[in-house]
Symmetry: C2
Subunit: 155 residues, 2 copies
Amino acid sequence: MPRPVWYWEDFKAGEVIEFGEKHVSRDEIIEFASEFDPQPFHLSEEAGKASILGGLCASGWHSCAMLMRMMCDEYMLDSSSMGAPGTDEVRWQKPVYVDDILRVRRTVLESRPSNSRPQVGLTRLRHELINRKGEVVLVMTGWILFGRRISGEAA
Amino acid sequence: MPRPVWYWEDFKAGEVIEFGEKHVSRDEIIEFASEFDPQPFHLSEEAGKASILGGLCASGWHSCAMLMRMMCDEYMLDSSSMGAPGTDEVRWQKPVYVDDILRVRRTVLESRPSNSRPQVGLTRLRHELINRKGEVVLVMTGWILFGRRISGEAA
């Protein structure tokens, strides 16, 4: 395994970055929904239009999963991440429609060392998924555990 | 479309039910993770064992998606559900391992009519995903919007 690029110390409270570009296809919306969330408005344009969502749109859990993949590609796989105990909030603020193109805005909210494990730190991050109109479609906030840089190692 | 079985009025605060039986296979853990959450501990037994998770285990988002499917099969698809604005918490309390068998415990926490839409009510539900040992592996809590029974219609 290569050494991580991003350790707990590298997430500085207040830091904001944007990354990613994910095109959402009709086929993947329907494929995910067929397996995990077969509500009519996630399966057909007709049912989407008849709903308060206004058109065929992705399952909220699909949006979370797409965000997770963008996080993995941008930094998680190059980090000392040890997983997450959960998320404190998930807000599906706008529907994600066919052919939307999504990017991510990540904000480091706060950071603290683990009380019980000196090699571990916790970072509270907010991730927003944003469409081409600049609308925030999803907000996800929660703590992630990262391994700390070994003391004495160059930062 | 058939008439819904479950309207907003049918979710009574305090009600607890259990349902579902979902076997989690090694292949589906790896398939979901390969697409959405390719962290090593979701892709191989070896990396899972080397992590604090103790073995190959499902992405937390996969657990959420599996829960959603069980909710759909049990009641959502037969309900007047209009979607959800988000969840107030998601807790991945224990890893979900290969060959786990999961069931759901649903608790109706509270219920209120919509302020702006007389045909709509909101219900706050807690869903827990429980493994064969009786351990709660996932807790998800949030509001769901349901259509109300049309007044004058038989309850």
